[in-house]
């Protein structure tokens, strides 16, 4: 007697205390959704505190997932279903809940104390506050305890299973199989069978409860999406960076030296890298960000692929060494997982405001090529390509990611390792007549000569180098030449890497230009507008330095250009200065990704200008 409705796109947000197992719940739902062949996108949202006190607003842990029978690119602006394990989760989740959206509530958690901590003066379940939503208060705590009656665990322990009860209900609501989660639980707790049993029981109890009580009048089905065949896995941005580096090292047949200093949200990468020592990866948790990049540069000098990663404040500390890397023309990869600034800012929140720091935050003329990842999985390709370019051009390369990509996950089609582009290194050879600053005429790269090789002894350093010989030189003309050579070399990277393609028509009314993690949002907005017949196209940068040649061509073919960014207009500044086009910005600085609907409005406003006589 199930009333099943088909929908094409749903956003669910699980929220509760950080002790409530929200992330785990979200991940299980994600996996099941992926296996059910929906396209999906997720956004975890941790509290800033390590262990925030239970019940507080700032302690709410959230996990949002959008899934669909169509391709989707964001975790969703508006939430269809909010699972609120306590009042604080409800309070903070309501903002983004759709009108008439579903709220599943753990009624047991609505105690006076919790209500107070969540800034509710009265119980919102009782005073009509939630009118306009479909509210389902369930005594989840009590019901899961009941379900585990026979299990020999304390009350407190049993309460740790209640997230599975909630998950069971949601599975019912979306007609999901529980198999994958049951299998996962059994694997995960294979050594603690009592926990395996308890969690599975809670899961099933939740589903049964929904079914038996006919809790929801309707359940939903999201049909399968068209998904490219292949083997998939969930991958976060930080995992993908790690994999990208490892893959590049394997292809280049060199070791990676990864020097880093922990900083949110980049620390994971060091943690992951440290666990892959069997790939020949050397990790150094340095005493600070300066030492981390210094060691990476040293390692590159000695023949490893030197890599370091950090976030904004750490990138600031690396500036001086980045200048040395520019001068010594060694391959190096520096990854900036941006977070909300300035200064310590909001360290767990996302932002894109390090672009200009990355491009210009060094003394003197010290240009560096920079690539930006556009999605969690794309971090893999960005890191891989960064290594390729660093080696091919003998330059430091910047990789931009951000907190949103770092922690967010998406399904990743596992690539064929053979299909990855080759990375070849031609070291200078023993006995050859080595001139450290002699350049490849095409790439302008100098050659890498490894300490240990007889006859190639040479000395690098931060003083200006004489062209070809690399000796110290104060010659005015030489300096001018070298400054321009270094700049030209970075430009040449543009000839080596592939330029992105435009999405949509290649001429028209409004061109949206963006970079980095806004990709999914912008794509969604433009997709929707185009479906509505609007003349909007989208060009997403991959390398933010150098800019692709095509960009200018496209810019000239549109009446208006808009640059959405999670900053005050950093790429926009570059585009304006480079192409002298009156690009407008769409800028939001809220520590969050920008929203599709707001962006759509901004683009629509530009589209309508014409009618208003611009």
């Amino acid at each position: 007697m199930k009333n099943i409705q088909e929908v094409s796109r749903v956003t669910i947000r699980f929220a509760g205390d950080s002790g409530d197992g929200i992330q785990l719940t979200g991940n299980q739902f994600t996996r099941t959704t992926a296996i059910a062949l929906n396209d999906l996108s997720t956004l975890p949202d941790y509290p800033a505190e390590i262990r925030a006190p239970a019940g507080t607003l700032y302690g709410v842990s959230g996990f949002q997932i959008q899934f669909s029978s169509q391709n989707i690119h964001t975790p969703g602006d508006e939430v269809d279903v909010l699972v609120a394990m306590n009042p604080a989760a409800l309070q903070s989740g309501l903002k983004s809940l759709k009108k008439n959206g579903i709220i599943i509530i753990n009624g047991d958690a609505f105690t006076e104390r919790n209500l107070r901590m969540a800034n509710f003066s009265e119980n919102p379940l009782e005073n009509g506050f939630l009118a306009g939503y479909q509210v389902y208060p369930v005594d989840i705590t009590r019901l899961s305890r009941d379900a585990l009656e026979k299990i020999e665990l304390t009350h407190k322990e049993k309460d740790r299973c209640k997230n599975f009860f909630a998950l069971g209900m949601v599975y019912w609501l979306y007609n999901r199989s529980m198999d994958a989660t049951v299998e996962w639980i059994e694997r995960k707790f294979s050594r603690q069978p009592i926990w395996a049993e308890a969690n599975v029981l809670a899961l099933k109890a939740g589903r049964n409860y929904a079914e038996a009580t006919e809790l929801f009048a309707t359940s939903y089905r999201v049909p399968e999406a068209k998904i490219e065949p292949g083997i998939y896995r969930q991958i976060t941005g930080n995992e993908a960076l790690t994999f990208g580096l490892i893959a590049a090292a394997a292809k280049a047949r060199r070791n990676i030296f990864y020097g880093s200093y922990p900083i949110t949200p980049a620390s994971d990468v060091l943690q992951y890298m440290a666990s892959y020592k069997h790939f020949g990866i050397k990790t150094l948790q340095a005493e600070d960000e300066i030492a981390a990049i210094g060691a990476a540069i040293g390692a590159s000098f000695a023949g490893d692929i030197g890599v370091t990663a950090t976030s904004g404040p750490g990138l600031a500390l690396k500036s001086e060494f980045l200048g040395l890397a520019v001068m010594t023309e060694l391959p190096l990869v520096v990854m900036d997982i941006q977070r909300s600034g300035p200064s310590t800012g909001m360290p767990t929140k996302t932002e894109q405001a390090d672009l200009l720091q990355g491009l210009f935050g060094r003394s003197g003329e010290a240009p560096i090529p920079a690539i930006a990842a556009s999605s969690p999985a794309d971090c893999f390709y960005a890191a891989y390509e960064a290594v390729r370019v660093a080696i091919r051009f003998m330059v430091p390369v910047l990789v931009f990611s951000d907190a949103y990509l770092a922690n967010g996950a998406e399904p990743w089609k596992i690539p064929d390792t053979e299909g990855l582009p080759e990375i070849e290194i031609e070291f200078a050879k023993a006995g050859e007549d080595y001139a450290p600053y002699l350049r490849d005429p095409q790439t302008l790269a100098r050659r890498w000569a490894l300490p240990g090789t007889p006859g190639l002894e040479h000395r690098l350093g931060g003083l200006e180098k004489q062209d070809v010989t690399g000796n110290v030189s104060y010659d005015p003309d030489n300096h001018e030449k070298m400054v321009r050579l270094r700049a030209e070399k970075v430009q040449r990277v543009g000839e080596f890497v592939e330029e992105p393609e435009i999405y949509g028509d290649s001429r028209g009314e409004v061109l949206v230009v963006s970079w980095g993690s806004t990709y999914g949002t912008v794509l969604t907005a433009v997709e929707q507008l185009r479906k509505e017949g609007k003349s909007a196209s989208f060009y997403h940068l991959r390398w933010v330095n150098p800019l692709p040649k095509k960009l200018e061509t496209y810019i000239r073919r549109f009446r208006r250009v808009i640059v959405p960014e999670v900053n005050l207009g950093q790429l926009r500044r570059i585009i304006r200065s480079t192409y002298l086009v009156d690009a407008v910005g769409f800028n939001r600085m809220k520590g969050q990704p920008i929203s599709v609907s707001e962006l759509k409005q901004a683009i629509e406003a530009l589209l309508e200008e014409k009618n208003n006589g611009r």
């Binding site: 996996r31 992926a34 296996i35 062949l37 996962w184 490219e228 065949p229 292949g230 083997i231 998939y232 896995r233 969930q234 994999f243 490892i246 394997a250 070791n255 030296f257 020097g259 892959y276 020592k277 069997h278 020949g280 050397k282 150094l284 340095a286 005493e287 300066i290 030492a291 981390a292 990049i293 210094g294 060691a295 540069i297 040293g298 390692a299 590159s300 000098f301 000695a302 023949g303 490893d304 030197g306 001086e320 060494f321 010594t328 596992i414 690539p415 390792t417 490894l450 300490p451 240990g452 007889p454 190639l456 002894e457 040479h458 000395r459 690098l460 350093g461 931060g462 000796n471 110290v472």
Partner: protein, 342 residues
């Protein structure tokens, strides 16, 4: 026991002189250090291509340009960081860090102590001239209290570091001091440093004749040096003086200076032990030179064996491969939860 000095295969007549003009001031103590280094290098049994000199910024730090080996003149204070990367990337290299008192103890103090605690097998040669030479005469973290320099026209109010004490407390496994003017001793110490497996720290008292001339005059002039310098020798008592008639011993932790009419060599004085387990002994020695009236010890303060950082690092790499097999990219990609879309 001192470290063995495995001077095995002498590189046959290798010349470590580079083709670059040496640009120190005439009369600078750096020349003597360079000369001894060029003399010692062929004797330590490492071919030129395996030698890497790494420096920060300062007069001292121009050193790598003057040695025909691999070299890296990095940025101010950061040579230890770069050296760490080099050594971890290729543990077979003989890595030398050349630094000044400002470079290593002012801006670079943190990297130095972290290098020591990690016990990377590198050799740090600190040219201590108690001044910033390259920037033309500001006081440094080793300048004495009251020192008048360009930035302390009223005298310095910063108490100086004792570099030996600092690196000892940071865990350096080989700690020594020598003097630019005592070239034979310097050569000996350089060889010992090279032979030591682990982080070797050598402080060289170096005269900057332009901005801080005579900082070590008492230790180098024939009239005074015998009473001012105590040569540490493993297993030998702490004696000094032209007639070897002066000696030191400790009473509890306090220092007693003795003066005798004859040589103190066979007197019942405690003998120097480079590898004394308790760091406090070397710490005691390190402070002696700070006390007016007592001599300045030179030689090896401490030499103990600890696993080196790069050994441990390599072991972990090898261990991981042994445990998990050499990394396989395909396996890595499909590790964890995967699903198939047909």
């Amino acid at each position: 026991m001192a470290d063995n000095i495995p001077v095995t295969t002498k590189s046959p007549k290798e010349d470590f002189a580079s083709d670059q003009d040496v640009r120190w001031c005439p009369g600078c103590g750096d020349y003597a250090i360079l000369a001894q280094m060029k003399k010692v290098l062929p004797e330590i049994g490492v071919p030129r291509e395996k030698v890497v000199f790494i420096s920060g910024i300062g007069c001292a730090s121009r050193f790598p340009y003057y040695i025909n080996s691999y070299g890296f003149h990095t940025i101010h204070g950061r040579a230890p960081a770069v050296a760490t990367g080099i050594k971890l990337a290729n543990p077979e290299l003989s890595v030398w860090i050349i630094t000044g008192d400002g470079d290593s103890l002012s801006i670079g103090g943190n990297h130095l102590i972290h290098l020591c605690r990690r016990n990377l097998d590198v050799n740090v040669i600190l040219f201590n001239n108690q001044i910033y030479g390259l920037t033309k005469g500001q006081y440094s973290p080793t300048s004495p209290l009251g020192k008048v320099t360009k930035t302390t026209p009223y005298g310095s109010i910063d108490r100086p570091f004792n570099p030996i004490s600092l690196v000892l407390s940071a865990g350096a496994t080989f700690v020594a001091r020598t003097i630019d003017r005592d070239t034979k001793h310097m050569a000996e110490i350089f060889k010992r440093a090279a032979a030591h497996k682990g982080c070797s720290f050598v402080e060289v008292y170096q005269n900057c004749n332009i901005f801080n001339d005579g900082a070590y005059r008492l230790l180098t002039e024939p009239e005074t040096k015998f009473d001012q310098v105590l040569y540490l020798e493993d297993g030998k008592p702490l004696i000094y003086g032209k007639e070897k008639n002066r000696g030191l011993r400790f009473n509890g932790f306090e220092t007693e200076a003795l003066e005798m009419n004859e040589s103190a060599e066979n007197k019942d004085l405690p003998v120097h032990r480079e590898n004394s387990e308790n760091e406090a002994y070397a710490q005691w020695l390190s402070r002696i030179g700070d006390v007016p009236g007592l001599p300045v010890p030179v030689g090896v303060f401490r030499a103990v064996q600890r696993p080196t950082y790069e050994q441990l690092s390599e072991q972990q790499l090898a261990g991981a491969i042994q445990k998990k097999g050499p990394g396989d990219l395909k396996q890595l990609f499909i590790s964890g939860d995967t699903w198939k879309v047909e």
